[in-house]
């Protein structure tokens, strides 16, 4: 480790040096992709651009984008820039049209990745004295092994719990003295419910830090998680195409995620692929600057965010992005209005009468789109009167209208009937036929 505060010295590299390093590495990765991946060479030629055209940082906009679709065409290994024998691990994640996206790592890629995740964990206070319970899938999903090796590198005691068997997870948490957890926010809320049904107080388990990611969540969910477990909860951002977790992470300020600019070149673009003005929101486009196996040039992540420009009190010089506002392709258009599921979550979490779980159904009635939001009523809100329902329904409707500008149907459902998701919550079900 670099100091008692920073895992690596690159975290506090002066801004100018960081930008110089970015340019140097950008030149390298563009050349590497061009020389070693036929697909990129072809794309560059179509666009009339050559690696030699990259002379300054801004020149990146001359290059073509890479998209999720390109994984499909190149399944399984067509985008790899090194021979197969140099690849020492692969992960996959669900892709479009049933073909998974296959991502590969050389030994050096893994080393970089481990250190990036370690930076994140160290940043939020994980140290060698900690007991780290990793409650996400360990198989093809990058979240399991990604965090596992980083926590080991820091020297924490790792409990490779994986997902499921929630009662046993809770028992281990207590028996092993777990201090740090990593889970999806919806699974963490599920753990809280199960713990309470076992008459265990989640806030007395001795936890102090929670790392949460893999699905969008809001500040209100953070508050609920922090209160429920008596922890500090931090947002984790990553995607398999960019190694996995460890791309960006919140620091102790809990206000924006530092994105590791020595390893990723960051752009925010609008629908037409043009750079947005400073501080505007748009789709996050990343170019990995050190990746040997998979040098994706200008990869469109599909995640919507914006760059926060203020300096951070934690001292890190790497820019911060706002927590992900939604997915460009999760965005649903209802009656001509753009809606992100995260907006709906945000509204619901502020209403104390409804529970932590919800589902959104989109249907078409004739030519009119309808949104139905199913919510679970909290026990405390039920007094035994029919008027409870009316009151809660109207309140939820009113609050959603304020945020979305759309009328919604609100259905109250029995506790426990909305499916709990361990990996990624599928909260929006679009039942509309294609037009």
């Amino acid at each position: 480790m670099y100091s008692d505060k920073y895992w690596q010295k690159e975290e506090v590299l002066p801004k100018k040096e960081l930008e110089d390093l970015q340019l140097k590495r950008l030149k390298w990765v563009v050349r590497h992709a061009y020389d070693n991946v036929a697909f990129f060479r072809q794309r560059f030629k179509e666009r009339g651009v050559h690696p030699d055209d990259i002379r300054k940082r801004e020149d990146i906009t001359k290059l073509p984008f890479t998209t999720k679709e390109d994984f499909k065409v190149n399944y399984p290994f067509g985008l790899f820039a090194v021979p197969k024998q140099k690849i020492i691990r692969i992960h996959t994640s669900s892709g479009t049209s049933g073909k998974p996206k296959v991502v590969g790592y050389t030994a050096r890629d893994l080393e970089n990745w481990i250190n990036m995740v370690a930076r994140c964990m160290y940043m939020v206070g994980v140290r060698s004295k900690d007991v780290f319970q990793n409650m996400v899938s360990y198989t093809f999903f990058t979240g399991g092994l990604g965090f596992h090796y980083a926590a080991e590198r820091i020297g924490a005691m790792v409990v490779p719990a994986g997902t499921g068997n929630t009662e046993r997870q809770i028992r281990y948490m207590i028996d092993f003295g777990t201090t740090v957890i990593h889970a999806t926010p919806s699974y963490a809320m599920h753990i809280k419910e199960v713990a309470e049904s076992l008459k265990i107080k989640p806030d007395e388990t001795g936890l102090r830090i929670g790392c949460f990611g893999a699905e969008p969540w809001s500040n209100n969910t953070r508050k609920r998680l922090e209160d429920a477990f008596n922890i500090k909860a931090f947002d984790s951002y990553g995607l398999s195409e960019m190694n996995g977790p460890g791309v960006a992470f919140e620091c102790e300020e809990q206000n924006g995620l530092h994105i590791w600019a020595d390893h990723y070149f960051i752009e925010i673009v609008d629908k037409n692929g043009e750079a947005v003005s400073e501080g505007e929101k748009g789709e996050l486009v990343l170019t990995p600057l050190t990746k040997e196996a998979l040098p994706l040039i200008r990869y469109k992540t599909g995640d919507v965010t914006f760059v926060m420009d203020d300096e951070c009190s934690c001292g890190r010089t790497h820019p911060k992005i706002h927590r992900i506002l939604g997915r460009a392709d999760d965005m649903i258009v209802v009656r001509g209005i753009n809606v992100f599921p995260s907006q709906i979550e945000h509204v619901l979490m502020q209403i104390p009468e409804v529970g932590d779980h919800f589902q959104v159904l989109i249907t078409r009635n004739g030519s009119l789109d309808e949104i139905t939001v199913k919510v679970e009523m909290r026990d405390e809100a039920f007094t035994g009167e029919l008027s409870d329902f009316k009151r809660i329904q109207s309140k939820v409707q009113r609050e959603l209208y304020k945020e979305l500008g759309l009328r919604t149907n609100v259905e109250l459902v029995e506790r426990g009937t909305i499916e709990r998701f361990v990996l990624k919550a599928k909260r929006v079900v679009d039942l509309r036929d294609e037009i």
């Binding site: 049904s197 009523m377 035994g384 259905e411 029995e414 009937t417």
Partner: protein, 142 residues
Amino acid sequence: MKEEKIIKQVSVFVENKPGRLAAVTEKLYEKGINIRAFTIAEAGDFGIIRMVVDKTDEAYKVLKDAGFTVSLTNVLGVEVKDEPGGLYSIAKALGSANINIEYVYAFTFGKDKALIILRVDDIEKAIEILEKENVLFKGKVD
């Protein structure tokens, strides 16, 4: 003393779909809990099962543990003769005192008696009126 005059009704939130009543009553049956009076209030996609049972606290706990949204509601019991005019005299007395009855349901027991369960907007005042009428049910429902 007032507590004994009030009956605790068990109210359960259920979705209006097949099998939900069975799910609730199965839990009570397993614990040997007897339902003495019972009604369902429905509002479209969901409803409330309301009941007076012999072992109230146990019923509350078993339903809560089974994951149902349950609450206990204060209601009054009125014991009248099972004959014409039984409900009328009570409704009249409460109406005159400007007490609103929110809902009511009844069951008969013994040979010629009926127990009426009342939910009112002003429970203290209603107790006063019903005691004056000498119809307030006191004691245990079992």
